[in-house]
Symmetry: C2
Subunit: 107 residues, 2 copies
């Protein structure tokens, strides 16, 4: 199968979602938000980076459709929208376990 324009577009769309997940800070927030929703300030404390940085990370997750946003007074609460993103992470875990096994085998 050749990667024609249609196919390329399809892969770009999918890759965009994966890219949104593919950053340690965003991954961390996805996991935290899986438990309950938090406002930007709370997430900033947990993450330990500048508020503006965290806000930008959240906008990336938002644009990818991975989180929900809800304004309450002067706070903005984020929550995990795509629960199946967690399955992602389980699969990643499986990859890592297998990598660890390989390293054992190599000894």
């Amino acid at each position: 199968m050749k990667m024609n324009n249609r196919e390329r577009a399809r892969c770009e769309t999918r890759a965009a979602i994966l890219k949104a997940l593919a950053h340690p800070t965003r991954l961390f927030m996805i996991e935290v938000l899986a438990k309950k929703s938090y406002c930007v300030f709370e997430l900033t404390e947990m993450v330990g980076l500048d508020v503006s940085t965290v806000s930008k990370h959240l906008s990336i997750l938002r644009n990818a459709g991975l989180v929900n946003v809800e304004k309450k007074g002067k706070h903005v609460f984020y929550s995990l929208r795509m629960r199946c993103a967690l399955n992602f992470l389980d699969c990643v875990e499986a990859v890592l376990r297998e990598q660890a096994q390989d390293r054992m085998d190599a000894i």
Copy 2:
């Protein structure tokens, strides 16, 4: 939960795997390799980029532990190693469907 050093390291490891997937060309190859193994030359034809570029993409997938490599004569065959990477993509598909639904709702 704070993102301490241990937690940061854990997220970096996981993100590294997602990063390896988060590119249209690599995503395409993952899907192609899910069906059967191919050599670099065949993949290059399908992808339509320079061989060196394809080779580098493959090395990224290899380093992430997502594909297997097998040398046969002067050819190098790649195959999908982590089948569960495909579940990843099903989940991505679900995200995309939900996004499309949102756009419908917005009308």
